[in-house]
């Protein structure tokens, strides 16, 4: 395969590329664009929450007929939170995170020329692209995009009479997501097969970098759980378009009784969350894997507890498939189920805690290099702990009764996903930018980006816990209907201001990213002095990755500051010395 000489045209190199490195960049750019759209939406709806009856020209500019004199319509508010959630969870943090880094790193870190199937990989990206286009198109439908929350529970999502966005907007959402799921499954299969079959000589599973373990297990979770979302969506399509009653029964709306009989919305909730819960670990595990790599490299120390980390990833993955009911404690399902899910949810806290402690111990007695990637990784450990701890409150069914669907939940999941996972994504970009583009990103801009984001993130999401504990429900267009919540208005304003600051701070990243592609300092082959195989390839990145033979692997991935060596790192392809023991 290394003798594969084919003439590359512009189209086969940049557009319909089968090279994993190009595909990873395609995923990243698409993910960034969707992320910008998602952040813009959050700015709009935060404006609405903080200043409910206020007229904003930016609202008038963006929302067309879904606003009146600069004040957004209630339907549109719900549409914005729906599409914001959908874009961020799926398009940015699943495709944008897994798609980018699994594609970039798997062949490079295991020592392979490319993915097992370059063609399927290409198809996976283009399906993602098409699903993104359809999701964006759904924003421009006359009656508005899907507005039943990113969780799209029926009957609200099944009946256009219940909310206008459940018409064509919802149909396009379902089409987009069906294609998205297919894209994700194809990608995941590729990742699994490649890691299992294409490792280079000497790359035993126990010598794999933790990033590889994380992407591998994430892909397995994806394969197990995404099909269930597809089935949930298909049944919803049947109910919407073919009059079936999977989810619907005994409904009186717009003055008439509908014909549906015998279905239950709770069925949808089970099917949705059977994906939905593993999905959040699909979002988080790659970020944790990246963090292991970045922290080890920048601490000049092995990641503490390599085997325990692998065990934790596996435990989290397995447990994630049996906790979905903690999203449904007060759905009306049998309370006994609630007890079962509380128990399993408690269990999943344990491997998560182990990972957190291992990261902190890796820093202990290290020699920390404060590159921007490292700052984001340290930030991730902080927000992962903060968000994870409130998960203990939410997973306890008796406590969930009072905080379910309040801002307490919103604060929790944003800290673990919207902050931690995004930090992981940023760390990955700063760290592997030299591999992607052969250039270095600007360090100072990276520093400003991190610190403003870090302050803004906690400024937004920490106080949010308290308005949730005050009883404020989520997905409320306005909090002015209840005098009960009038004293929370100030906190909401502070949150919005920090959110806008945080949103603007991401511009620093965008400028740095795109500018550095062209004007960045040329990178050396191994700028971070890291031990893993991707840094043995030429800087300019060639088709087939290594010009000659693929290196064979002689040791694990974490020989940093190993006694007996002058340099503070030993690459994976360096043979063991006489009498040296492998860790």
């Amino acid at each position: 395969m290394s003798e594969h000489h084919h003439k590359e045209t512009f189209v086969t190199k940049y557009i319909f590329s089968q090279d994993h490195k190009m595909i990873s960049k395609q995923f990243l750019i698409t993910g960034i664009i969707m992320g910008v759209i998602g952040v813009l939406m959050s700015m709009l709806f935060r404006l609405q929450i903080a200043w409910p009856e206020h007229s904003f020209s930016i609202v008038e500019a963006f929302l067309g007929h879904h606003q009146t004199d600069g004040v957004m319509d209630p339907d549109m508010y719900l549409a914005l939170v729906t599409i914001h959630g959908t874009i961020m969870v799926f398009f940015v943090l699943t495709a944008g995170l897994s798609g980018t880094f699994s594609n970039l790193l798997i062949p490079l870190q295991i020592g392979a020329r490319d993915m097992a199937s370059g063609f399927m990989n290409m198809v996976s990206y283009w399906m993602f692209f098409i699903s993104s286009v359809i999701m964006v198109i759904s924003l421009f439908v006359e009656a508005g995009p899907a507005s039943a929350g990113w969780t799209i529970y029926p009957p609200l999502s099944a009946l256009p009479q219940a909310i206008p966005g459940s018409g064509m907007g919802m149909t396009l959402w379902l089409v987009s997501m069906a294609i998205f799921v297919a894209s994700s499954l194809i990608g995941s299969l590729n990742y699994i097969v490649t890691i299992l079959n294409l490792r280079t000589k000497g790359m035993k599973m126990t010598r794999l970098p933790l990033t590889m373990w994380a992407f591998f297990i994430t892909a397995i979770i994806g394969v197990v759980s995404f099909p269930v979302l597809l089935s949930a969506a298909l049944l919803l399509i049947f109910d919407r378009s073919f009059g079936t009653s999977f989810y619907l029964s005994d409904i009186f709306i717009s003055g008439e009784v509908l014909h549906y009989q015998g279905g239950s919305p709770v069925l949808f909730e089970h099917l949705f969350w059977f994906l939905g819960h593993p999905e959040v670990y699909i979002v988080l595990l790659p970020a944790l894997g990246i963090t292991s790599e970045v922290i080890a490299t920048n601490s000049r120390k092995p990641i503490f507890g390599y085997r325990a980390m692998i065990g934790s990833i596996m435990a989290i993955a397995f447990l994630s498939t049996i906790v979905w009911g903690h999203h449904m404690f007060i759905s009306g399902m049998n309370p006994f189920l609630g007890s079962v899910f509380t128990f399993t949810t408690l269990l999943i806290a344990i491997p998560s805690a182990v990972k957190g402690f291992n990261y902190i111990t890796t820093l202990w007695k290290g020699n920390l290099q404060m590159n921007p990637a490292m700052l984001f990784s340290i930030g991730l450990v902080s927000t992962f702990i903060t968000g994870g701890l409130t998960g203990i409150v939410l997973g306890d069914s008796a406590l969930d009764i009072n905080v379910h669907d309040t801002y307490f939940v919103v604060a929790h999941f944003h800290l673990v996903m919207g902050v931690s996972a995004i930090y992981g994504m940023y760390a990955g970009v700063y760290h592997w930018f030299p591999k992607m583009y052969g250039k270095m990103m600007d360090k100072t801009l990276g520093y400003w980006h991190f610190w403003i984001t870090a302050i803004a993130a906690y400024g937004v999401f920490f106080p949010m816990h308290f308005i949730g504990l005050a009883g404020l429900p989520r997905r409320y267009y306005s909090n002015t209907a209840f005098p009960l919540f009038d004293d929370l208005a100030d906190v909401n304003i502070v949150i919005t201001i920090f959110a806008i600051i945080g949103g603007i701070a991401q511009v620093i990243f965008l400028v740095n990213f795109f500018m550095s592609i062209y004007k960045g300092k040329t990178a050396v082959q191994n700028p971070w002095k890291s031990t893993t195989l991707e840094w043995t390839t030429p800087v300019e990145g060639i088709h087939g990755n290594w010009p000659g033979k693929i290196p064979s692997v002689e040791r694990w991935a974490y020989d940093y500051s190993k006694p007996g060596y002058d340099e503070d790192f030993v690459m994976q392809d360096v043979p063991l010395k006489e009498g040296e023991e492998e860790s």
Binding site: P74, F304, I330, S583
Partner: protein, 355 residues
Amino acid sequence: MLALFYIFLAVAVALGIWQVNRLTSYGKVILRNDKNEEVTAISKLEENPLATEKDNDLHGKLFLAFLIGFYVLMAYCLFFLNDLMLPESASIEGENDDNLFFISFVLIGIVQFATQGLLFFFAFKYRGINNRKALFYADSHKLELIWTTVPAIVLTLLIGYGLYTWNDVMDLSDAEDPIVIEVYAQQFNWQARYAGADNTLGRGNVRNIKGINTIGIDMTDANGADDIPVRELHLPKGRKIVFKFRSQDVLHSAYMPHFRAQMNCVPGMVTEFGFTPKFTTEEMRLQEETVRKVARVNKVRKEKGEDLYEFDYLLLCNKICGASHYNMQMKIVVEEEADFYSWLKQQETIAELVK
């Protein structure tokens, strides 16, 4: 508040100008030419793209400052925003909930302060110095064992208490002589009905909705005729209330935060939840926490020129249900049992209303 934002904008613009200037600056640099002689030239000022010892020092210190700032933020929220949280539970079953909450928060609070402290302190203490080697410390079975079993034990105890509380709240089978009330959700208001003298609700289904029978009580069911539909909930203090929930159209959720009660209303299904009210509305109004809350709310309302607020228990919708999801409420009044029954006597049954 807004002033803070404008200050940030000004700082951001200044920062932007400064950085763009830095990135586009040219200046005198000393380079070495092919003959290895030093030559002065004009070139783009380039800094080291990797973190230097100076950078490590700065950001290590910034992490320490961030830790202190974070501790301050957490302490501020815990103490000053504490009063924003819901007052004492107004239901007897909710007391267990609140105890569990308190214990949980103490536990996670301790872990939070400890781990954030260690994390950021290590980031500061071990900030990189040139030529210092890190410690090659890859594993410790003892440590792994400790921080697997300690969380496991603590969490097991916590969840044990949690499950006990959950069962205590959700198990309605041994409720003695409860008052049964149906709460009916629809886009976008609430209705309710009392079970009447026989304390049994008649069958209900949306197919029976007709005229004044807006919640679809089956008029052929003998148990239904004496049911009493209302648009305002009255509850007797000290009696167990068992709510049966129905929905007319989409998912709604009956959220009664003061009672620590919430349950989805699902079309096609009857869900249930129960509690025993502990304080009448009047008693609750006199409680210190409530008085403070009302004062805060009224301060805001006075500024906006709105009617003053008097405390009332509330039922609100807590599951996205459409455009007016944010304004779906029903007043709840808790009163002494005697007052409750005299109020109930004054309401009309469905049989009377339909006639």
